[in-house]
């Protein structure tokens, strides 16, 4: 299902965060969303995921799309181990062994059975990326997924993502244009909305 965003506007109280955003994400396309910090990237993807209601404009196709997401703040269950965290988002027929194999591919071999709260930031990041990849979905949205990963690890993860997310619509928020290159992605640049001066 293609996703189309038309004239999307989102305000928090009186602060306009997104103003007249238009974008098309075809099924199976890869897009990187970039822009300065605070310009509304997270807000935009929350609107697409249906977590925020836009003030005006429309997003078509989202209702028929099964999403998976890497949130800016992981949102893993701290008490559960890595396997269970991934498993909870998967369909029933995905076995623990299968998840273990994928954890291996992410360089997490020795941490599969560890409580997530005891993992480092970079490890948690990879667990949450894996959760999004293994869940059944048509569109995967990742909010700054490579934060806390060194370059070698990042390349490993990117190639794994490209492999796993084939055929799915992929939206990746990133600050690094080289990521877009490696992901072979189109680029959507958001600019911070300038509040017009009010004449009092």
């Amino acid at each position: 299902m293609d996703l189309t965003i038309r004239q999307l506007t989102k305000k928090f109280n009186d602060q306009i965060v997104l103003h007249d955003i238009n974008a098309d994400f075809e099924q199976g396309s890869v897009t990187c969303i970039t822009g300065p910090s605070g310009c509304g990237k997270t807000t935009l993807i929350h609107c697409i995921l249906g977590l925020y209601k836009p003030d005006s404009g429309e997003i078509t196709g989202a209702a028929d799309t099964r999403f998976a997401a890497v949130f800016q703040e992981n949102r893993l269950c701290p008490q559960l181990d890595a396997i269970t965290n991934v498993q909870l988002a998967c369909k029933k027929n995905v076995s623990a062994a299968e998840i273990c194999t994928s954890l291996d591919a992410m360089g997490l071999t020795d941490y599969a059975g560890k409580q997530v709260s005891s993992l480092s930031g970079g490890m948690k990041r990879r667990v949450s990326i894996l959760r999004a990849l293994m869940a059944e979905s048509d569109c995967i949205i990742m909010d700054e997924p490579f934060k806390g990963l060194d370059d070698a690890l990042k390349d490993q993860v990117i190639s794994y993502i490209r492999n796993k997310a084939k055929g799915k619509t992929l939206l990746v928020v990133t600050h690094d244009l080289r990521d877009a290159e490696k992901l072979n992605a189109k680029i959507l640049t958001l600019t911070a909305f300038q509040q017009p001066f009010l004449l009092i």
Partner: protein
């Protein structure tokens, strides 16, 4: 972690107990009216005697069964009511005054009311139930309320079924609240349950026996029953906590400690 005091070898613990038992024995020499106090020796003797009577075991088992039934019923009801209150605001509003009322009513009035309204055989069950219920309800509801909204958004995005939300999100997050609630509730249920039995004197109850010791001035027996209650409630608590920790580990698939 900083230790506030240097720990002594474990044998000291035993010596401390011996010390206090000696003090107890000493006190029994000092109390002028012998029938008002029981020395450790007398208590041991009374305990030995009681142990061999079938009635002792029947009474202990019957009280244990009734009071712990109240506890488990409260556990179940409290969790269910908390879940419904979390989901439906109207249920929460409806229950709030009721729970506050139960908490506010003095146990003594409650016991008398239950005796008036029901028969005394179910008395200790009802009392331990109503003492434990608010504790469980309030703690579990608080746990639910403080649950991270961001995790619920995550559950929404991944379209997690209710069963999975409960199994993977709510239960692990609520475990600490549940453990606290259980340990608080266990303290309440034994103290209030036995107090109810003392007042209502149902057949074959520890509380009834305690009342008898007062009538007949059987102070050693009173001490024995007190010790029995302490032993039962302590081992019951140990048992429950043991199972809760097992459950907790099972839920989170935690590796065993030391297996790191």
């Amino acid at each position: 972690m900083k230790r506030r005091y240097k720990s002594l070898p474990p044998v000291i613990r035993w010596l401390v107990i011996v010390f206090w038992v000696l003090i107890w024995q000493l006190c029994s020499y000092l109390v002028p009216y012998k029938f008002l106090f029981a020395s450790p020796v007398q208590v041991m003797a009374a305990f030995g005697q009681l142990c061999f009577s079938a009635d002792f075991w029947l009474t202990t088992a019957s009280s244990f069964w009734k009071i712990s039934a109240g506890f488990f019923l409260a556990l179940l009801t409290g969790c269910l009511l908390a879940a419904f209150s979390y989901r439906f605001v109207i249920v929460r509003e409806l229950l709030m005054p009721l729970i506050r009322l139960i908490k506010a009513i003095p146990v003594a009035s409650f016991i008398i009311l239950v005796i008036l309204w029901f028969n005394s055989s179910s008395l200790s069950t009802i009392i331990s139930f109503s003492m434990v219920l608010p504790v469980i309800y309030i703690n579990i509801l608080q746990g639910l309320d403080s649950y991270d909204e961001k995790m619920l958004e995550m559950a929404y995005v991944f379209r997690l079924s209710l069963v999975r939300r409960i199994r993977y999100l709510y239960i692990p997050a609520l475990m600490p609240y549940f453990v606290t609630a259980c340990s608080l509730g266990l303290g309440f249920c034994w103290k209030s349950g036995v107090a109810a039995e003392v007042i209502g004197q149902p057949a074959h109850s520890i509380g009834g026996e305690i009342y008898m010791t007062k009538l007949n001035l059987l102070t050693p027996e009173l001490f024995v029953w007190t010790i029995v209650i302490i032993l039962i409630s302590a081992s019951f608590e140990k048992l429950i906590m043991f199972f809760l920790h097992k459950l907790e580990k099972k839920i989170s698939h935690l590796p065993r400690q030391g297996q790191e």
